[in-house]
């Protein structure tokens, strides 16, 4: 399969022959799966190989490519790192994959504390450049290998959002090639294309449009080619890398940064501790850690993990209320000393918590985030529930998710009633809750994992839980009417307005709907009305 040859010739003239290929081997190699984020789920059944792959190096090239796609009606999929493999893959035949890895600009304005980054730049690159200048960004749960631009559009959640808010609220200026090839600039660069200082621009703030409904458009609303993102002042002692792979970490300057682990006597005490710490306005990160992460950290391989994890029970998991706290003396060593005393007062003195040992290093969150190791235990992993809501919401939802999971275990990993993990955001005003899905992708009952995904949606609707992943993992026509006001209609109207021919990563934002429509095993759980989804057209609704 390939794209029209007239289009290929034009595209080749834009980037040069070394940066484009329609060879079936190259196209096959650019096809995600069978494993990766989402591609071990049923949605992988709708993925196709692209018909052509291209590597632009400038915004001008991207614009010309997109205009060519419009001229010849070639669907296109933009990717930066393709980490979210399920969405960064064609769902229609004969599509053009636009790989943005060459666009890895990183210009930091130290004085005004922001970075102008290209779509190909990843987090660990930006973090290192920021830290060289006494600044930092927040490494997200997606991992340090994810694209800064894509992740800022998505949401960009990290335990360090406790002080900084999530990344998608730190977007400043944006350069955006719309689905028809026009360039839209947001923030201060709307007035001066080289001025990326500020996020506010003339007229309405269109950053909401770039993010779509919470998780971004996943490439179905054109291509962001450049973005300025806010950086935050760090403390002066740079954490230094130590160790040899796989045991590498950054050594913390302990007078300035330290992690603290506590075991609280009950879940109520743990929640109270979170609120009290936030109320005291101390801390740089607070997380409730699932017990199996401790087993991951201790194990050298999956066999050791299972040896450790199989020693647990519902009782031991329920009794283990682990709170992990990060303190940073941003302004001084004295700040850290003060915060440490307050922390001890709250947790040990007032709430009866017990402090346990922590390493003087950081493996995840300061420079690195080991998202890839999530696949180590079972071979399959996806984050199917993710919320931004209150701490109390996270606790209640964890209980319900855990109960629901029992009906789907196996094939889901035996979790002994684990109730997910959450991190506190915005000084206690938010909890970023996540309930993770682990399974063996070769399990003969693997279709139950897809059913589990829909069951989670229905549970959320029934129990009136908010979920941040409405338009990504969830069926648009199930969640849209329930979450309203009719957000699915808004999404589709936007899409029709900007991309009437459905060329930008179709059928987004209705990929999950297409999969459910096509998968025979999903018909027994599909009990909501939905229009017929065609992969190469925008969805229609009454």
């Amino acid at each position: 399969m390939t794209i029209p040859q007239a289009a290929y010739k034009v595209l080749e003239a834009i980037v040069g022959p070394d940066y484009i290929s329609q060879d079936p081997i190259d196209c096959e190699a650019h096809t995600p799966g069978p494993n990766g984020f989402e591609t071990d789920l049923g949605v992988a059944t709708i993925l196709k190989s692209p018909g052509c792959v291209i590597f632009p190096s400038t915004t001008e090239e991207v614009q010309k490519i997109v205009k060519t796609c419009n001229r010849y009606k070639v669907p296109f999929i933009p990717i930066s790192t393709q980490w979210w493999s399920g969405r960064g893959a064609a769902k229609v035949e004969d599509a053009l994959m636009i790989d943005l890895k060459r666009m890895d600009q990183c210009d930091i304005d130290d004085k005004h504390m922001f970075a102008v980054v290209g779509s190909g730049l990843i987090y660990s690159q930006l973090q290192e450049e920021a830290m060289k200048r006494g600044l930092y960004t927040t490494i997200p749960g997606g991992g340090s290998q994810v694209g800064v631009v894509a992740n800022h559009i998505l949401y960009g959640s990290s335990p360090l959002n406790y002080r900084t808010c999530i990344a998608n609220r730190r977007i400043l200026g944006v350069e955006w090639v719309l689905p028809d090839g026009e360039i839209l600039r947001l923030g201060s660069c709307a007035l001066d294309k080289d001025d990326y200082l500020w996020g506010e621009g003339i007229g309405p703030d269109l950053r909401g449009m770039i993010r779509g409904f919470s998780p971004g458009w996943m490439g179905s609303m054109g291509i962001v080619t450049k973005m300025s993102v806010k950086l935050v002042p760090f403390q002066p002692d740079k954490p230094m890398p130590v160790g040899i792979s796989p045991d590498t970490a950054v050594e913390l300057p302990l007078k300035r940064i330290n992690w603290y682990n506590f075991i609280l006597p009950s879940k109520d005490a743990l929640v109270k501790a979170m609120y009290e710490i936030a109320n005291a306005e101390i801390g740089a990160g607070l997380t409730k850690v699932p017990l199996f992460w401790r087993a991951i950290a201790k194990a050298n391989n999956k066999e050791e993990f299972w040896e450790l994890w199989d020693q647990e029970s519902e009782e031991t998991v329920a009794a283990m209320n682990v709170l992990r706290v990060l303190l940073i003396g941003f302004t001084s060593e004295k700040q850290l000393e003060y915060e440490e005393r307050v922390l001890q007062d709250i947790i040990v003195k007032d709430l009866g918590g017990k402090q346990t040992r922590t390493k003087p290093t950081d493996e995840s969150w300061v420079k690195n985030a080991d998202s890839a190791s999530m696949w180590m235990m079972c071979g399959g992993y996806t984050s199917l529930e993710f919320d931004f809501e209150a701490i109390s919401h996270a606790v209640a939802k964890g209980v319900d998710c855990s109960k629901l999971k029992k009906g789907y275990t196996p094939p889901l990993m035996k979790a002994y009633g684990d109730q997910g993990w959450f991190q506190v955001g915005d000084y206690g005003h938010l909890a970023l809750f996540e309930f993770l899905t682990y399974q063996d992708p070769d399990d003969e009952q693997k279709h139950k994992v897809d059913e589990w995904s829909v069951a989670l949606s229905k549970m959320n609707i029934e129990n009136r839980y908010y979920t941040a992943q409405l338009a990504s993992h969830k069926p648009l026509f199930l969640t849209g009417p329930a979450y309203g006001p009719d957000y699915h209609k808004w999404m589709i109207r936007f899409k029709e307005e900007f991309d009437p021919d459905a060329l930008s990563n179709p059928p987004g934002p209705a990929d999950t709907d297409l999969f459910i429509q096509e998968a025979e095993w999903m018909q027994k759980v599909k009990d909501w009305p939905a229009p017929k989804i065609e992969a190469n057209k925008n969805p229609k609704f009454e």
Partner: protein
């Protein structure tokens, strides 16, 4: 419940199907360990992916292609073969992957090459030409086999010694300064040694690494027999390629473990580091120079002993008995650095990407022979790093690396000096 019986036998690609299926495209094979990420530049570890961009030239893309080949979605063709061989097999992807996961990337890629040759599509014509030379004269240059020990004229060896010095083709035929220096160093410590002379065949690296396993096995068997006949228990070499081939690839070819081979392999730097501890070697001469060290892939992240395994893979991919995993943790990293730092006058500086994260010189895996322009491009990227840290000399412990860097320097006119560590040590003890 999924369950299968698998082996670390590289002649059947199916043994690595799990590893191909479980790649999550995290690109740990591409990026420098994020903990050590140096910033926006020098941030990747795979020459092939950086040079050619397409996923077909990356570990994750090649795994996808190998899996598609197994599943019958694609067949070998020219582009596929090009993608397979435009790769140094430098092991950066394997070590990077194992930072987080337990996948056998390196073995899967080697297995793909073996299948490519078995199915009649590989290796590249240049690799076949070298195979012919090895078959005829037992060395990669096609020089007369009898000339192999010409470098040793006037050097006294000891037939009863417990050490056999495996010189390698580059030392024997092209860079005779290295074996001469090595012999001097051994003598200076009082270590007697013997050589194999014309009975030393090419170690087989150019054959094995290009998938020509049957030819590689012939060369290997000859060398294994010769070592056994010599009565030596220790094989010492100053060549990183020979080191890894004798230590890792020989057992791999015969489905054995390194510990079953009946000999131990040491590199000169391991020997010298040991002598430093014992106090039997002294660096007397001042060498006033700012130097850096290049980790040769075959001495560094790829040099851990091979442990043959076969067993069950069960639910979640759990292996029984537990499969051994070589993660690149125990490569020969510290010894060469300790040696260089101990030489008076030397101002040692590390490059930006070091040890398991090091950037390959570009010569390995048959690339220097079949794609010299790519080999030179890779070397140039590494030489930029040498410039970046302000080193006047680049030291390596592999004649192939030295050769490739020298070619790149000759082409660019750069003034960086390239030396083998044996030559540097020899200068220091004179």
């Amino acid at each position: 419940m999924p369950e299968e019986y698998v082996k670390f036998d590289l002649t059947d690609m199916k043994n690595f199907e799990y590893d191909m299926k479980r790649c999550v495209r995290c690109k740990g094979c591409k990026w420098v360990d994020h903990i050590y990420m140096p910033g926006a530049t020098y941030s990747t570890r795979c020459p092939s992916e950086k040079r050619y961009l397409f996923d077909s030239f990356s570990a994750w893309g090649r795994l996808r292609l190998a899996l598609s080949l197994l599943n019958g979605r694609i067949e070998f063709n020219d582009r596929f073969v090009e993608a397979i061989y435009k790769c140094q097999l430098c092991g950066a992807c394997d070590a990077g992957c194992k930072r987080n996961l337990d996948l056998e990337i390196g073995s899967a890629l080697e297995s793909l090459r073996i299948k490519c040759v078995a199915d009649g599509f590989g290796p590249m014509p240049e690799h076949k030409a070298i195979a012919e030379k090895i078959e005829k004269e037992h060395n990669v240059f096609g020089g007369p086999a009898d000339n192999r020990d010409k470098w040793a004229k006037g050097i006294q060896t000891d037939d009863k010694a417990e050490f056999v010095y495996f010189v390698g083709c580059y030392g024997s035929y092209k860079m005779q300064g290295i074996p001469k220096a090595t012999a001097n160093i051994l003598k200076a410590t009082g270590q007697s040694f013997k050589i194999m002379g014309s009975d030393e065949y090419c170690c087989g690296y150019p054959l094995y690494s290009t998938g020509q396993i049957e030819k590689a096995k012939k060369a290997a068997q000859h060398n294994i027999d010769t070592i056994a006949k010599s009565g030596a228990k220790t094989v010492i070499t100053a060549c990183a390629e020979c080191y890894k081939t004798l230590k890792v690839d020989y057992p791999k070819m015969f489905n054995k473990s390194t510990s079953d081979m009946g000999y131990q392999v040491i590199h000169l730097v391991e020997f010298v580091a040991d002598q430093m501890e014992k106090g039997t070697i002294k660096f007397k001469n001042n060498i006033d120079m700012r130097v850096t060290y290049h980790d040769a892939c075959n001495l560094a992240r790829m040099s851990e002993p091979w442990v043959y395994w076969e067993g069950k893979r069960k639910l979640y991919g759990i292996t029984e008995p537990t499969a051994p995993r070589r993660k690149g943790t125990h490569g020969v990293y510290h010894q060469p650095r300790n040696i260089l730092k101990a030489i008076p006058g030397i101002d040692y500086v590390d490059m930006i990407r070091i040890r398991e994260n090091a950037w390959c010189c570009g010569a390995g895996g048959g690339v220097a022979e079949a794609f010299p322009e790519f080999a030179q491009w890779s070397a140039e990227e590494r030489l930029e790093e040498v410039d970046e840290v302000g080193a006047a000399a680049l030291i390596t412990a592999c004649p192939r690396c030295k050769d490739n860097f020298s070619k790149a320097i000759n082409a660019s006119g750069d003034n960086i000096k390239v030396m083998d560590i044996a030559e540097m040590i020899n200068e220091a003890i004179k």
